[in-house]
Amino acid sequence: MASRTYQTDAIVLRRDDYGEADRLLTVLTPGLGKLRVMAKGARKMTSRKAGHVELFTEVRLMLARGRTFDIVTQAEAIATHRALREDLRRGSYAHYLAELTDQFAQEQAEDAALYDLLSNGLVWLCDARDPALAARLFEMRLLSLSGYRPQLMRCARTGEPLEVDQAAEGADVATAYSPAEGGTLCARAALLARDGFALPRSALMLLRVLQTRELDQLDALDVPEAVGDQVERALRRTFVYTLERALKSTRFIRQVEGAES
C-alpha cells in the first residue's frame, strides 16, 4: 500500500487562490513531473507555510495524499530568488520561464533534467546583467532538452555548409532560418522554405553562443539591442511553431519593457 505522506523538492509554477484562504499550487518536481497541490491557509498572514510556497520558490515539500489534491503539510524553502521579487523585469521573465516549462512538463512523469533547467534558469534570471539574455539561454537549453535543438552550423535541409561560414571574415552575409525546417538553411534550401526569414551574421553568432556557452561567458558580451531583438524573434517563432501556440507572457514582457524605459 502506498504511504500516506511523501516528500519532494518542487518549484512553484503557478498559484491560484482557492476558497477562503487556501492556495492551489501547480509545482514542478524532478520525480513526479507537474503536480497540483493544496496549501491550506497560505493566504493568512499567520501562515508559516506561505513564504515557502510563494511563486518560483524552490521548496522541499511534505505532502499528504488527499482525495482531489495532495495537501502540503510542511514546506521549507531551498531558494527564494529575492531578485525576482524586487525587480519587475526579472519577475516578468520568471513568469515566462514558468509558462514555457508548464508547456513542456508532463503530469506524473519523471523529468529531472527539466527540473534542473528551470532551477538553473531562475538563478540565471537573478544573476544575469540582462535578464533577457538569461531567458534566451533558457529557451535554447529547453529546445535542446525537448528534442528541438535548432541546427545552426549547416543547412538543416541539405546538410551543406552555410554561405556565411565560407564568406570572408567580417562580411555580413545573412542566413535564412526556418522554424519548420529546424534551423539555418543554405541559399538554395531557403527558396523552398515557407517560414524562412533572414538572420544577420551577428544574430546567428549569438544563437551559436547560446547553444554552446554558459551564463558567465554570455554575461560578458555586449549585445547590441538590434541583435538581441533578432535572436529573441527567432527563438519566439521557434516556440510558436513547436508549441503551435503563442505564449501569454511574451506580450506582457514587451509591455513591461516599454513601461520601464
Binding site: L55, G91, Q255
Partner: protein, 206 residues
Amino acid sequence: MPSLPRSLPPSVTRLVDALSQLPGIGPKTASRLAYFLLRAPPETAASLADALRDLKARTRLCSVCLNITEADPCEICSTPSRDRGVICVVEEPLDVTALERARFGGVYHVLHGVISPMNGVGPDDLRIRELLARVAEGRDGVPVREVILATNPTLEGENTAAFIARKLSGSGARVSRLARGLPVGGDLEYADEITLSRAIEGRQNL
C-alpha cells in the same frame, strides 16, 4: 460541474447561476443559498435585492484616492485632520479597511489590482498614472512627503512596488515599503492590526 435538475423553474436556476459566479461559491452552495431565500420571509429577499441594487447605483470611485465611496471625495479624503502629505498605496479597497483598523493617519491610493502576467494585468491596467499625478501635484497646497507602498508581500505585490518606486524616483517624495515583518506570500486583508501597525512603523525607504 453537476448540472441542475431540469425540473427547476427558470427563476430559481437564474439565481443559482448568478450566485455561482461569486468567488468561493460552487453550484452546491449556490443551490443551498437559493433554497434558503426561497423559504425565507419575503423581506429577506427584498432587502438583499435592494442592497445589491444600491451597491452599484450608489457607489463610485473617490476622485482622489479611487477607493469605493458613496460621497466624492470619500470620507477619508475629506477629513481635515488626516495627513494628506502621506499616501499609503494599496491593492484593493479591502486593504484600506485593514489599515484603518491599524489606525493609519494618512490618506490612501487604491490601485485596483497588481501587475500580474498570469492574469494579463500590466502597469497600464492599474491606477498608477493617477498616483504619479497625485504625487506631482499635491492637494490643497499640501505637497506629498511620503508614499508608503503597502501592496501585498507576494511576488506580484513586490514587483508592483518596485515598479512604482522607480516611477516615483526623482519626485521628491520619500518612498517606503511596509516592514519585512509581514510574512512573504500573505494577503494584507488577513493581517491583524498589531502586525500591520508594526509594519507601518517599521517601514523602510526604497
